[in-house]
């Protein structure tokens, strides 16, 4: 079943949804990256909730004009207008009042959402309203997705991506260093507004598939997932787009393969799964890697301290230190150094002295920056440099280098 779904063998509707969700995921991941880097991720929550009154009002207006109230482009247009008003509300409250941004977001989000629910209730009582199915915009509803809907989503996603591509450098600069950006003549408020407008576009486009409550997850989870894997802005953006696209596609396929699974929530849970895997397994910033690094660092510290203690004839009290030395064959259980232990200890002491010089000398700055009390000096300096340092140290040449 799942296999069929993944290879688009599940029928027309499922295929449309999977392709649409994939497009949406890529656009949301890429756009969300800049929200995340600008530390404005939560604004997207206000934007998405502010779409609801627009959806309802657009429906009413279209019905009153004698048209089909459920036309997707019309509903999306209405949602965009009301999201834009909500967005301006947040930014006005933040700039012109003493309200902090989180409070402004909370206020706009709840008021717009409440207003939207009231309008939807009113629509329920209208004679044409009963079959409107506007609640579907809360959590997404893909059941009746049409070819035209998929086209709207794909086109919206592609347009968003094009704008991101055009503005990516300015947006990254503003996110990293807004003061420098302003000083170089970039209109920072305008770029900020562009970041928000892109998020809004993704939100509006995504209403049909994941709904307004969960679209935030598609904007935020992919970039934080991507951040685990790389330290470069362009790669965070790329990986975030991939994570978004994969979770959109796989999530839609899963929900098509298993009856009664809602599409939007499954997409979000799929991306959450990728987030958890990254959190645990990412090589540098992952939790497991950090734990292993910590343990190995601790052992190396103990080893080093033990060797220095041996070299200076001091007693070793730490059990872990003794055990490590013993296991490495450098000391006996009673703390007396073996032959090899004495040699290693002397080398450790000599290296300490060398590091001392390296760290005091400006000429070795980039090497000194790598100093962590443990690193073998041979890994950062050439043999010639070490010889030169040894000449400066002088001292007993009998100490094995």
């Amino acid at each position: 079943m799942l296999w069929d779904a993944l290879f688009l063998q599940m029928g027309y509707n499922a295929t449309l949804v999977a392709i649409g969700a994939c497009f949406l995921g890529v656009a949301a991941g890429v756009t969300g990256t800049f929200l995340f880097l600008r530390k404005r991720a939560l604004v997207s929550d206000a934007i998405s909730h502010a779409t609801l009154p627009g959806v309802g009002l657009a429906f009413i207006v279209m019905v009153l004009l004698g048209g089909d109230g459920r036309s997707l482009p019309g509903l999306l247009f209405g949602s965009a207008v009301s999201a834009w008003i909500g967005l301006l509300g947040v930014s006005w409250l933040t700039r012109r009042t003493r309200l902090a941004e989180d409070a402004a977001i909370g206020a706009v989000l709840s008021v717009f959402f409440g207003f939207g629910i009231v309008i939807l209730t009113v629509i329920q009582t209208m004679s044409v309203g009963r079959q409107a199915g506007l609640e579907g915009f809360l959590l997404g509803s893909t059941a009746g997705m049409l070819w035209n809907d998929a086209v709207v989503i794909a086109a919206g996603g592609a347009l968003t991506l094009a704008v991101v591509l055009l503005l990516r450098r300015s947006m990254a600069l503003v996110a990293f260093d807004p003061e420098f950006a302003a000083a170089s003549g970039i209109n920072v408020p305008r770029i900020d507004l562009a970041i928000m407008a892109l998020a809004m576009a993704v939100t509006v486009v995504g209403l049909k598939i994941v709904g307004l409550i969960l679209i935030v997850a598609m904007l935020i989870i992919p970039p934080v997932t991507a951040r685990f894997w790389t330290d470069r802005t362009d790669r965070v953006t790329l990986i975030s787009g991939i994570v978004g696209g994969v979770s959109g596609y796989v999530g839609a396929a899963l929900s098509a393969a298993i009856p009664h699974l809602p599409t939007g929530p499954i997409i979000v849970l799929t991306s959450f799964g990728m987030f958890i895997l990254s959190l645990l397994l990412a090589p540098n910033r992952g939790v497991l890697a950090a734990l292993l690094r910590h343990l190995s660092f601790q052992r190396r510290v103990h080893m080093r301290q033990g060797l220095l203690a041996l070299a200076q004839g001091q007693p070793i009290y730490e059990k872990l230190t003794l055990r490590l030395l013993e296991r490495a064959g450098l000391a006996r259980a009673d703390g007396v150094a073996t032959e090899e232990g004495r040699a290693r200890a002397a080398k450790a002491l000599r290296d300490e002295k060398r590091w001392e010089l390296v760290r005091a000398d400006q000429a070795f700055e980039s090497a000194a920056a790598l100093y962590d009390g443990l690193r073998e000096i041979e890994t950062v300096l050439t043999t010639d440099q070490i010889e030169e340092i040894d000449r400066r140290i002088g001292g007993p040449m009998g100490v094995p280098a």
């Binding site: 990293f176 260093d177 003061e179 420098f180 000083a183 330290d231 700055e365 920056a369």
Partner: protein, 268 residues
């Protein structure tokens, strides 16, 4: 107050000075809320000079620079860059913000930060080419950070971060360098590296203006001072303006006499 205003007007430079100055500020007032941080300040930087902006904490040193560059919006005031309005002259200015103003865990490498200095050259769509990277590396080399090009910025020490910021400003290839506290919290090696670069710029005929907090190095590093405490207190060559009397006016007796005695002051 009346006296001070009169004094300000008395020394108000004429139009020729504004025309000739790389960085001239007239009547700049900036306030956060109802409290002015910078009040009706005039400043005239002479070309090819190294000017220290000094004053106590909260005296408006950084704010003056930020307002002049349009980073914060002033209530009033005009800025002329090489005798022309700021707009259109931005490519002649390089700015080094305070190191603490950015998040150093941002996902970017040292070389990428320096490439931000080429942002005007690159525009919206142009790809970063090898000659851009070479130029950025060259700027890193000038601040002694060439070995760090591919490091993530979070791995740098405070002094190294400051030098990366300076390298980014160098990449801008400007004629006027405005630096906000470039020596704050940096190690001695960095301080030396930075001052060497700044003196090199001066030797090339560039103009350098830096917010500075260490009075003991003013006369060693700079040839002109601008003293501010919300209002302009004094402006001129270190020899003329960096006097005990002006320091007293600027810091309002907040400097210990013993400390002032150790400074290499001009006879006032």
């Amino acid at each position: 107050m009346t006296l001070e205003l009169a004094a300000n007007q008395g020394v108000a430079p004429n139009l020729d000075q504004v025309e000739a100055s790389p960085f001239a500020v007239r009547g700049m007032t900036v306030s956060y809320g109802q409290k002015p941080v910078v009040f009706s300040v005039d400043m005239t930087v002479s070309e090819g000079s190294m000017t220290a902006i000094i004053g106590p904490n909260g005296a408006g040193k950084s704010t003056l620079l930020k307002a002049a560059l349009g980073i914060v919006k002033p209530l009033s005031g005009r800025v002329m860059i090489f005798g022309k309005p700021l707009k259109g002259q931005r490519n002649r200015i390089a700015y080094v913000p305070q190191r603490a103003s950015v998040d150093w865990d941002f996902p970017t490498r040292v070389i990428d930060v320096v490439l931000m200095g080429l942002h005007r050259e690159l525009g919206l769509l142009r790809r970063v080419r090898q000659h851009h990277v070479d130029k950025a590396r060259d700027c890193l080399d000038r601040v002694g950070m060439a070995d760090f090009a591919n490091r993530q910025i979070g791995q740098l020490s405070g002094g190294q971060q400051q030098r990366v910021f300076l390298a980014r400003a160098l990449a801008q290839g400007a004629d006027l360098y405005l630096l906000d506290e470039p020596f704050a919290g940096v190690d001695a090696a960095t301080e030396k590296a930075i001052i060497d670069v700044l003196k090199g710029l001066k030797a090339e005929g560039k103009t350098v203006v830096a917010v500075h907090h260490d009075l003991s190095t003013v006369s060693e590093y700079f040839d002109r001072v601008f003293m501010i405490n919300t209002r302009r207190i004094a402006e001129g060559s270190v020899a003329e303006a960096f006097t005990a009397e002006n320091l007293d006016k600027t810091y309002g007796g907040r400097l210990a006499t013993a400390h002032v005695d150790q400074l290499d002051l001009a006879a006032g």
